[in-house]
């Protein structure tokens, strides 16, 4: 019984350490905020952390896995990081706190979903600085696979929009 409690404590500590790792490209949010840290469990003496990629080809995937592995090891654990694909990550996994952190950082969090192929239709993306909805899309593909580039027509601020996936 005592050993079991201890294992749970260690898993909880492992989660706290892993959860605090920031995204390398959007350092204002952690892997927990983004919803890509799926589980942290003890297997024997080792901590097993399971992560899921945001975009299939996101170059940050390896960097994130390495950062989580390093953080857990530095906390004194044996560690293994596994990649899981299912259930597929979508922007719905970003936590409410994560969305607010993105906005404060100057990135508008994901807005509405579109499932059809309506060409040349634009969604409403509010400016993260002044909240105006008078904005225009500059580029559908931005500085990272997950972002598009916009400009606010009210306060003239250029900003990133975290695309809805």
């Amino acid at each position: 019984m005592a050993a079991r409690v201890k294992a749970d404590d260690r898993a909880a500590l492992g989660w706290r350490v892993a959860a605090a790792v920031p995204d390398p490209e959007i350092p204002c949010v952690t892997v927990e905020d983004l919803g890509i840290l799926r589980s942290v469990e003890m297997e024997g003496d080792a901590v097993v952390a399971r992560l899921t990629p945001t975009y299939a080809g996101c170059p940050a995937v390896l960097a994130i896995e390495l950062a989580v592995e390093t953080a857990i090891r530095e906390a004194g654990f044996d560690v293994r990081v596994e990649r899981v694909l299912s259930p597929a990550w979508s922007t719905d996994w970003i936590t409410e706190e994560g969305r607010e952190k993105l906005r404060a950082f100057g990135i508008t969090p994901p807005a509405e979903k579109r499932s059809d192929n309506a060409f040349f239709t634009e969604i409403v993306v509010a400016c993260p600085r002044c909240a105006s909805e008078k904005t225009e899309k500059l580029a559908a593909f931005g500085s990272t696979p997950c972002k598009a580039h916009y400009r606010c027509l009210a306060c003239a601020e250029p900003f990133d929009y975290f695309k809805c996936l």
């Binding site: 990629p53 975009y55 299939a56 080809g57 996101c58 170059p59 694909l85 299912s86 259930p87 597929a88 990550w89 979508s90 579109r114 499932s115 192929n117 060409f119 040349f120 500059l138 580029a139 559908a140 593909f141 931005g142 500085s143 696979p145 580039h149 695309k163 996936l165």
Partner: protein
């Protein structure tokens, strides 16, 4: 997982492996073609968009190669399959290896492919194979951006200036003969891998809609061009592979 499949669904692993490799090859080769635009696109926004789409495709290819290596169970890695085969061993359809040509050719090729992959990935999310349905669930979200982006360019150029319309129609005339192979069926279990021919009607509907908006005519194709699925590729494919494989051929086993 390979063992479970053969026992439960009586799927021939060799057929499944062939279908997974063909799908991975389509994505690797078209992703490579898109990456050739990096630093050369007609404007900065497209210089970001094309490698972004290339990254999605490489990510999808990687997941598929990694699964192929597991299915095969002969100790090859995803990199061995991607980088160390000869041209005859690649099973991509001819459409994806066509040279970039002008921007109209590149965007039309992307649109043809994405308009097909959208219903294909959607169907694959229902696959009885857990790995393939997980890969598809990610890809189906990403492909929607590709259909919209490429489709908008086909419309913009087709219904644009006299010059852009002429170039886009020339791209249609050049590439349409290659689309038959994209939607041609494979000899596999359709509970695991979607029936390609079954996607044809949806593909034609998407293409028809965009072509009407773009004022483009669908040409009559007397002789559809195919061969890639059997390993018979065009001359340009050799040059593509030479660049793609250069590092591993020159410095075998090199790692970052």
């Amino acid at each position: 997982m390979a063992t479970d499949l053969t026992q439960s669904a009586e799927v021939q692993v060799s057929d499944l492996l062939a279908a997974v490799i063909a799908l991975a090859d389509d994505h690797l080769i078209l992703g490579h073609r898109l990456s050739e635009w990096c630093g050369h696109a007609p404007m900065l926004e497209e210089d970001l968009a094309l490698p972004n789409m290339a990254l999605d495709m490489l990510g999808q290819a990687r997941a598929l190669y990694s699964y192929a290596a597991e299915l095969e169970g002969r100790g090859r890695t995803e990199d061995d399959i991607a980088y160390l085969r000869t041209d005859r061993e690649y099973r991509n359809c001819l459409l994806v290896e066509r040279p970039n040509g002008d921007f109209a050719h590149t965007m039309l090729r992307q649109f043809y492919f994405a308009a097909f992959m959208q219903p294909y990935w959607q169907a694959m999310t229902e696959s009885s194979d857990a790995t393939l349905s997980a890969i598809a669930a990610k890809a189906v979200k990403e492909i929607a951006y590709h259909v919209r982006h490429a489709g908008e360019w086909v419309i913009r150029l087709g219904d644009g200036t006299e010059e852009s319309a002429k170039r886009m129609q020339a791209a249609v005339d050049a590439l349409h003969p290659y689309t038959d192979e994209l939607v041609a069926d494979e000899d596999v279990d359709f509970a695991v891998v979607p029936n390609r021919a079954g996607m044809r009607a949806r593909w034609e509907a998407t293409v028809g809609h965009v072509f009407r908006e773009a004022r483009l005519a669908v040409p009559d194709v007397a002789f559809p061009l195919s061969g890639g699925r059997e390993g018979r590729h065009g001359e340009e494919f050799g040059y593509l592979l030479a660049e793609l494989q250069y590092m591993q051929r020159t410095y075998p086993g090199l790692t970052w």
